[in-house]
């Protein structure tokens, strides 16, 4: 039974204070976009934050690019501010991913980058001086799936498996205006089946069952996964005459924020409006912890207190010493035994030899004696 105060002391003001502190400090947020070129990743990022975060690729440079078959990690920083709240945004792009004839292991640089950030942070925590460092831990990774209308490709499945265990993964269907609504629905179903079959852990926001309204919103967001997105920075006129972001075709106008045209709004809510803090927290808690313990066990430490570990170490050392001594002893004994045995054998051999000599001598003596007897017998016979 927690006692409640009769008069207001002011502890209920704590969330407001917290709010002030947080809004002053701002926050770090890192998004990674993974997918082949030409899927609209850059456009999407720029649309998501309504500003030119990343420049579009210059087509003149494309000829030099194709010479080396490497996947690069491209980091772009932007500080954005809305209503006084600052976000230090980092976008990590992966140019070259999936663009070549042989894409074997093209996900390795991406996965290594994610792991590296966690490990670097672990190392950083061990230092004396834990000042504010550039924290590039990836909070959310958007994997762009091309809108083929069929199903996931082997590359998609392999990469998503690798990514899902390390980072909050959200699969995204790019260029949503490629597929008709019916085709899109069946495509999504097949992708969901694939994801379930291959046990790919995509990001699921926590549902707070008490708050029914937000639970409903979250459920809606979850149901639309994988999200079909559309990006555009150009303004167009829609049917109602309003100016919105969209794409103008000869046969109609697609609007980015129209829910019937794409899931952009849901995804934006997921990443920014409702669940940004959860993404950040889950990265720091779950994934960071996972990689931290992994790293530490790799470097030989366990959960125990250092003295206990030292004692354990000493014990093992002693045991090892004992073992080696015992081994040495048995070795020596064995050596001596063999030596003695050899000596024995030599003696036996010597004895045999001497015996043989003796025999021979005996034989010759006997032979001589017989000769003597014969001669005596002959002499006696001839008298």
């Amino acid at each position: 039974m927690t006692p409640s105060l009769s008069s207001a002391v002011g502890i209920s003001n704590l969330p407001n204070q917290r709010h002030k502190i947080v809004s002053r400090k701002g926050t770090n947020f890192t998004i990674m976009v993974v997918g082949e070129s030409g899927l609209g990743k850059t456009t999407f990022v720029n649309t998501l934050f309504s500003s030119l975060i990343r420049d579009y690729k210059k087509p003149e440079h494309r000829i030099q690019k194709q010479m080396d078959h490497t996947v690069q990690i491209d980091v772009v920083r932007a500080d954005i501010e809305e209503n006084g709240f600052k976000v230090r945004l980092t976008i990590v792009d992966t140019p070259g991913f999936g663009d070549f004839i042989n894409n074997q292991d093209c996900w390795v640089p991406v996965v290594d980058f994610i792991d590296e950030q966690h490990f670097a942070h672990v190392k950083h925590e061990e230092k004396h001086d834990r000042n504010k460092k550039d924290d590039l831990r990836v909070h959310v990774c958007l994997y762009f799936i091309p809108a083929t209308g069929h199903t996931l490709r082997p590359l998609d499945i392999e990469v998503m498996k690798q990514l899902s265990s390390r980072v909050n993964l959200i699969p995204v269907i790019s260029k949503a205006d490629t597929l008709t609504p019916l085709a899109m629905a069946s495509f999504k179903d097949r992708i969901r089946d694939c994801i379930a079959y291959h046990n790919i852990q995509v990001y699921t926001p926590p549902i707070n069952h008490d708050d029914t309204e937000s639970a409903k919103i979250t459920n809606d967001i979850m149901a639309a996964m994988p999200y079909s997105v559309l990006g555009s920075e150009t303004d167009v006129q829609n049917a109602a005459g309003e100016t919105v972001k969209g794409r103008q075709y000869l046969w109609g106008t697609v609007e980015v924020e129209n829910e019937k045209h794409s899931d952009f709004v849901h995804l934006r809510n997921l990443i920014i409006r409702s669940h940004m803090s959860d993404l950040i927290e889950s990265t720091e808690e779950i994934h960071y912890e996972k990689s931290r313990s992994l790293k530490l066990t790799q470097s030989g430490k366990t959960d125990d207190d250092p003295q206990v570990t030292a004692k354990k170490n000493l014990e093992t050392l002693m045991k090892n010493e004992e073992e080696s001594l015992r081994k040495k002893f048995t070795e020596q004994v064995r050596l001596e035994e063999t030596r003695f045995r050899k000596w024995e054998q030599r003696l036996i051999a010597e004895r045999d030899r001497l015996n043989k000599d003796l025999e021979n001598q005996h034989k010759s003596v006997k032979a001589l004696e017989e000769e003597v007897d014969e001669l005596i017998a002959k002499k006696n016979a001839s008298r």
Partner: protein, 337 residues
């Protein structure tokens, strides 16, 4: 049959002096379609032939999705009739191309297939007594589907078109072109053409002979060349619009018509493929590409194995006395430059 505005007009074709007379049996014609899966190849073929040539594949098996597939070459025969002329069309699809993580092997399978058709013809020519019923299965034209990235050609596109362009007429097409707005499509086509020029990719670009051809033909070819790569859309669904049956794709924001030349180049491509340039493509395949292959093959000194044995002449039996290519690189194909 006439959805199309500019349908094959055989009467017009017959008056053009440099076109050959159509064979009574029906023209044989082989089109090969190559591209990664999901680019609308099967839909395109079904739209082109106005019938369900390639049935819809069932992709719902999640386990199979992760498996690496090998490229299959699957020819299907379609008999078509355009204004009284019978066309024995063979369409070859190549499912599995470019779908794997490592796609190096995809080229050799397709190249081997094309070269085998040439080998068969070569062997047939070398026979003393030829087979009157011999079927010419050479690939006359290859449509390469470029994914509508909006950037430029990918490594795979460049490599493939270069390798195959020396053996068959390659025509690049932009798949699913309703993904791009008109201005995006224009810049994409421009960049693709620049890449083709830069990497010297041999494609069929509607060559004209200034002296021999008449102005109409030159103009037509120039117009078609400017449309390269052709932007296409495919659809098997029909809708009644303004009293007409229209093949289209219906989106919540609008309807794209396949046969509307403002929306895509499908109708022009169809006319070009099946009517106006059919003979030209066949001629180039026979007179130029096949001859080139023949020269290369025979100069390597390999003996030719006929595909079927009639048994009429002593020379028709198999004589493959081993490959004596002087500097054979380690590659699965025996004849390589």
């Amino acid at each position: 049959m006439s959805h199309l505005g500019s349908v094959a007009n055989i009467a017009l074709m017959a008056t053009k002096t440099h076109r050959r007379k159509a064979v009574k049996k029906g023209l044989t014609y082989t089109i090969m379609i190559v591209g990664s899966s999901g680019l609308g190849k099967s839909t395109f073929v079904n739209t082109l032939c106005e019938s369900n040539v390639f049935p819809k594949i069932d992709y719902s098996n999640a386990e199979k999705a992760a498996l690496e597939k090998t490229v299959r070459v699957s020819p299907v025969s379609v008999d078509m009739e355009e204004d009284g002329i019978k066309l024995a069309l063979t369409v070859i699809d190549t499912p599995g191309f470019g779908d794997n993580i490592d796609n190096k092997g995809a080229f050799t399978d397709i190249l081997n297939f094309i070269e085998k058709q040439y080998d068969d013809v070569l062997a047939e020519e070398c026979r003393i007594k030829r087979n009157p019923k011999f079927q010419d299965n050479r690939v006359h034209v290859l449509l390469y589907f470029i994914p509508p990235t909006g950037h430029s050609l990918r490594e795979m596109d460049i490599e493939f078109m270069k390798k195959l362009g020396t053996r068959t007429n390659v025509i690049p097409v932009v798949a699913k072109s309703d993904t791009m707005t008109p201005s995006e499509l224009q810049s994409f086509k421009k960049r693709v053409n620049e890449d083709i020029a830069h990497y010297q990719i041999p494609i069929y670009n509607f060559p004209v002979d200034e002296e021999e051809d008449d102005d109409e033909v030159i103009e037509e070819n120039n117009e078609l060349r400017n449309l390269l790569p052709f932007s296409i859309i495919g659809s098997e669904e029909e809708v009644i619009m303004n009293g007409r049956r229209v093949r289209c794709r219906q989106y919540p924001w609008g309807t794209v018509e396949v046969d509307n030349s403002r929306h895509c180049d499908f109708s022009k491509l169809r006319y070009m493929l099946l009517s106006s340039h059919l003979h030209e493509l066949k001629e180039i395949t026979h007179d130029f590409l096949y001859e080139q292959y023949r020269t290369e093959r025979l100069s390597k000194g390999l003996e030719i194995t006929p595909a079927e044995d009639i048994g009429d002449s002593p020379y028709s039996s198999v004589q493959n006395s081993g490959q004596n290519t002087p500097s054979a690189p380690a590659s699965p194909v025996p004849v390589r430059n």
